[in-house]
Subunit: 473 residues, 4 copies
């Protein structure tokens, strides 16, 4: 359970990196250069899909008559064994293993001999890693999609549970108009729907097989690429071998889609941080999603929400970094492309915490309906007051101006708008009559906004139904 | 023809901004604060779509019984007149015109009186500007799509015109394998196909009507939003009024899609800059797309390509900037959202030069087939040499190593690989026989890669046909 | 006063750009390529410093014996005349003027004949534009520095005016400990001090003369570069001609320093936006820095603060964009470098509004001391309660835990911490005695933090004195 | 030597993260939320400086009379013991250790009992982590500075070793003028000098003590902060406790300085990648810094240079990400600030490979003087030809144009410029005489550029001397 974390003495030494695989290096490669090149410390997580891809390739070689049936069996058995070793944490990285691909090929040859040396026939690491990325991404997208759906479900649950509560709506963070709290929760649902749509479209674009493109010119063996695609569950095959090995569009698109998803979560986070301040007091976060202070015993901090907001910045930076790395690359495959994996994996890992933590936080928070109600300010019915005048035939632009005068009067007299005597209304315009006070009714205000997308209870009910339907909940 | 550019004396003055509309400011607004807020200098380009949106809204108000038929006529006529004034550059911005919306409403009231003051009934600038953005973007996307298609067409033309030329393929910018130049041109076609796909998907997402969302709570008038959408040619209506006014997803998605498109153009630019150096010498750019030096009379600089590469950085920055601005925004509409327009418009303007300039450059450049041919190096057939051994039953991994030994020998003896005596081949491995020299045939090498996406002439012909079909060319 | 803004019909046309100088193009340059290259629309603001640089260069040529005394006089007179024309908006850009440098040289030759054609001897646009940038930046930095100083002054004024007001301090946006409001204002002063320090260091680095570097190899004439530097008021001369024309470090550093400055202003903005919500209610912004709503008559929106927050994102994007453009540039001067000017000028223009608007907003806002006082919550004295136990010999970690228990008790009983009966304190730990209630004194709490940088009144007074001294106020 | 890398089964599971410390969680914190918050997996590298800071704090508490001398001894001994445990990898992280600070305090209390619980008196994690960051950064900056110096030394060595070799200078990647190769090497030295200057200035700004600022209000104990600063070797103390805990300027500045440093290395990398292509052929990289291909036996790829170029993008992204995270943070300390460490540490680690790998690559590469010489093109003397006419009294602008005509003639006749018959020169202008052919002398051309910063041998010698002096080499 407890475990030591190796201490990186980086700062005190000439160079921060420890020589991970020290000792022997083939061909006089400079040890630091070796370390600089080696990607196994982060690309090993591709092992599962790399094996999957190699199995398909082996079958493709067999089908093309490049290897014999017994060689195929040996290779498939060897790869299967390596899978088990990895699952059981019994796979040992060797000093000369530069990346996940070489590590697995090396182990395969140890296990099955010469047949292992035939696996790479007609294949390059360029098309191999591109294939691994496609397979990995498709699985990753499914995981993320599922996690977004859970956050959507939490928002739906909240909008059902909190139905009927009227809350100040804000623009510019100033109180503006009354809305249903359910309507507000749902306003965070729809951006996630768009995120899912973008992810689904990305998945289609990721489902293209690069294998068979070789280093960049295509493979000289009569490989049936459509067979490979089918074996790997991919929709189609890449139409140009040069593009196939250079293409990192899906990674950029993943990072963008993740950035926008994170932006959506960060906006919700910011709002919930505000709502859980002492000053707003609209919600109480569960202890399960807050932390204390090392110094101040009374503190209950919304750390998880702040982290989501902060990590959004980090994810935006990863997108930027990749695009900057891709820009102006001169040839089909350049080693710069290796910089795609860390931002991809790290962003995926972040989302895999961000999303379920948000879902849990949403479901466990408590809404303080009393505070929300007492914060309602009749001044936010000013628009309704203008509409009252419009109904009496005054053009809106003029009505807006007249209500402005009434408000200045109410502020000058320090009397709340709804308690201003009728005479003060009349002094501004004779169109005001005794029924003006009927305007000051929050429920009435929201009920009037009864069109699709509006905040009226009936419209919000329909919205919930639509949301459930579209989200598959 | 000649015209003076006003000189911004910014540096010498307290503050760089001239007081554009100096003089009178309503309500004691600080002049600098006014300038800071005012967006008319850049949002005026929304005028056309703003008028379009206002016409639809006026019809919606009429349909909802909010205005009379004669008022509708007045408003529609007034808006039409404003359209003409703008087209004729006879529309005069007034000092108090904060943005395009207020300018047009102000002018409308000047033209049609009280009826003009009714246009804004039940509408807010929040849903109005979101609608304008949707309408503008849809038109912009169509223009960009058309321009991409032209670049694709230029690439197709090149691949047809240059068919048959074999060129060094590069990975890591090192000569790697022979490919058809046509295959290389096409490798820049497919990324643009994906860009078009992304733009088409974005267009669907942009085709959603926000109008009727009011400031954020929805409008209290019985507006038929589906009618509005139909009037404006939009596919659907926004499902949540709060989200509708806050949503800038499409702008972010536009900037991302533009970034990736620019990345694709910058990669092509980088390659063409290299190919047009004296050292590569594969292509000659037309004078129409190069410039000279103010000092060095012999220079012919590939400025347009360099600008495309540089502007790609700028566009990536705009995407970053918008995402950073959106992150953590606390409420439905915040003024920060005003920062969406400049990056959107500037990026659009950049693309509208980048794309046709690239198309023209591609069509007008000359390929130097002689230089390309003489640069072909037999060493790039080393993979074919390994495959030769594979065909003799040697596992690829071993064959790769044996060929490496042959190459070291050839380098040591300073004899080109294809001129190395057979005995030297034999010294490495007895599997080499006299037919080894048949390997050194560039045409044969490419012809073997005859699978979908490969560089064999037949495969490339099929690729061209597919490309034309998918691109609608 | 009123003026028409030309309407960019961009969307409806093939390409968004109007042909600014249409008609004739030397050497068959494609019109769009010309427009793509031309920088005069944005680099004309360098005119003043370009003339300054040209005057110095002319003197240098004379000193080196390259031109005659009468030629020098002609050139200087001609340049002076051009200065006047520009100031008077009587300088006319011609269709063939690609940039500010060619426009001025063209006009000079019109004015003084053959002598004008000698000005560019031994000079290239590469070292010329680098020199212009240095001169422009130095002036720009002085303007910004002065504007920051004004914001600092506003913060000092506030900290003096609001001295004595105790306010909730926040961490994680949760109430944490009492502080002096003056201390809080000053917490926004010091980041600006660091910004000024960074700008001053940048100014030294910008004060280096590139002139004399030619296109990249240096000039072949015996120019006295130290004389040029002295003429232009620059500190030193660049040590390497290749680096001199390629170096855009100062632009990147400007954008970074501006980004951090903007981040500081955006944090202050965010806090003031919160403090001016109805829920916090700690400050009231002046009408001069707020705007209304087109729909909701009661709204008073903190637009200027929101814009500062949003523009910070945009400025970060400009920094990103330039760094991405610079990355991996292959040679000394590449045209990509032209992308440095727009972000530089636009950022400068933004700061020139951001800063004075912030200064004015700070000075004109009203602090609501009553709301601030009534918002003080005794629970923020929990740390003092722990310190009370520490004073009685209980280790802090244990004291922290005991106070936590007391707080849970107070929350359970719904009794404010300072009104909890002594017996409940005693039930947690016998170290509590009757004097525990002395802890609940906000003034005492802040007075105890009387060390440099602390919030005690005496410490804050010293801090104000130090701030004034260091800021030169 | 060999070691298993745990396989992250992320994709197949609900969420990618393994439960690092699974099992018991105090206070019902959600396990995923715990993981989300916990920073020990990356902040443990602060352990050494955290202990250093804690020792100083303990001494400060003793000096202030808060703890007894024997307690101080216990604490110092305990912290010393923890240092040893960490160095020996015998420090065990426990499930409840949230971060490095709590882990060390927990262990201290295990080792020394109650005295350990007194260490955190008057201190908060907020000022503690800010202090750790300052101490860590100062050490990191020294390491980086030393590594940059080594790259500078390598460049000096190259410029001395390759002295005398004349090479094509490039602008727009087109051959422009002859320069000394030494001059070119040095053009990459000076940007590093500026980087060092920026790092030195940052170091001063990092050398400020936050300790004593508590959570944000300052500590209530009479701590001598100047004593603490002296103990920790820091130059000064922070002037405002709120700013002290919120300030992440130095991290942003570190990332910017690192970005610009990386940009400089990426430009050098790009140039070396080009120079090592078959087409340029100017340099041969050592095997120690290149890698082969898994498919193509002849390949020798400049991976280390490509990685430096790619990682520059990543570093730019980290800067962007942090700035986006900092923007608009509302209060003194927000948890978002935790996002500062990963980009800081990762960037440091990258630089610690980038720099020594570049130094080694530079020293080990071979310059191919023959290829460089044979690539020299007389056309790059066109500027000298114009200067020849200038010397005969023709204004430069006219001379430039005349030389342009000569070049067109030479291109039309397919005769190299220097072999064009005199009559053809004369046909353009009678000022040409037989001595025109003296212009075509590369050595003469560079020797004329003999002013500070120029490419003449004497000027370059002086430049080398200056470079050594300023770099302290």
């Amino acid at each position: 359970m407890a475990r030591p974390i190796p201490y990186p003495n980086s700062v005190m030494k000439r160079c921060s990196v420890t020589k991970l695989w020290g000792g022997r290096f083939a061909g006089g490669v400079d040890p630091l250069a070796w370390q600089y090149n080696a990607s196994i410390s982060f690309d090993f997580r591709l092992a599962k899909v790399d094996i999957q891809g190699s199995k398909a390739w082996a079958k493709g070689l067999r089908k093309a008559g490049v290897i014999r049936a017994d060689e195929l069996d040996l290779i498939l058995d060897g790869l299967e064994k390596i899978s088990y070793e990895i699952e059981a944490s019994e796979f040992y990285i060797q000093p000369a293993d530069e990346d996940v691909h070489t590590a697995i090929e090396r182990r395969l040859t140890e296990l099955v001999g010469a047949a292992g040396g035939k696996l790479h026939t007609g294949r390059s690491r360029n098309d191999q890693v591109a294939t691994d990325l496609a397979l990995w991404m498709i699985e990753a997208l499914e995981v993320i999609e599922k996690n977004i759906k859970e956050v959507q479900l939490s928002l739906i649950k909240r909008s059902e549970k909190d139905f009927g509560i009227i809350i100040n709506g804000y623009t510019h963070l100033q109180q503006s108009q009354p809305i249903l709290l359910s309507h507000w929760w749902l306003s965070h649902f729809w951006p996630l729907m768009r995120d899912r749509q973008r992810l689904a479209e990305l998945k289609k674009r990721a489902s293209v097989l690069p294998l068979g493109s070789g280093a960049m010119a295509g493979t000289p063996y009569p490989i049936d690429r459509k067979f490979l695609a089918a074996e790997l569950g991919l929709d189609s095959i890449s139409p140009n071998s040069i593009d196939a090995v250079a293409n990192r569009d899906t990674v950029a698109e993943f990072l963008f889609t993740a950035s926008l998803l994170a932006v959506h979560l960060s906006k919700l986070s910011e709002a919930l941080i505000l709502f859980s301040t002492a000053e707003f007091g609209f919600i109480h976060l569960s202890d399960a999603y807050t932390t204390g202070s090392s110094l101040m015993p009374q503190k209950k901090n919304p750390d998880t929400l702040e982290l989501t907001r902060g990590k959004t910045g980090t994810i935006i930076g990863r997108l930027t970094g990749l695009l900057a790395a891709l820009k102006g690359l001169p040839s089909s495959y350049d080693k710069d492309l290796q910089e795609d994996k860390m931002p991809l994996f790290e962003t995926y890992d972040s989302l895999c915490l961000m999303l379920p933590v948000m879902a849990g936080l949403l479901e466990s928070l408590e809404v303080d309906a009393g505070r929300i109600h007492s914060a309602l300010n009749p001044a936010i019915l000013a628009t309704d007051l203008a509409d009252y005048l419009v109904a009496k035939g005054i053009p809106f632009r003029e009505a807006h101006s007249l209500v402005g005068q009434v408000i200045r009067k109410s502020e000058g007299l320090h009397v709340p708008l709804h308690q201003l005597p009728l005479k003060d209304f009349l002094a501004v315009n004779p169109a005001f009559t005794a029924d003006v006070f009927d305007v000051f009714d929050f429920e009435k205000s929201i009920s009037k906004r009864n069109l699709p997308g509006g905040t009226a209870p009936a419209a919000v009910q329909e919205q919930i139904a639509l949301a459930k339907h579209l989200a598959g909940l």
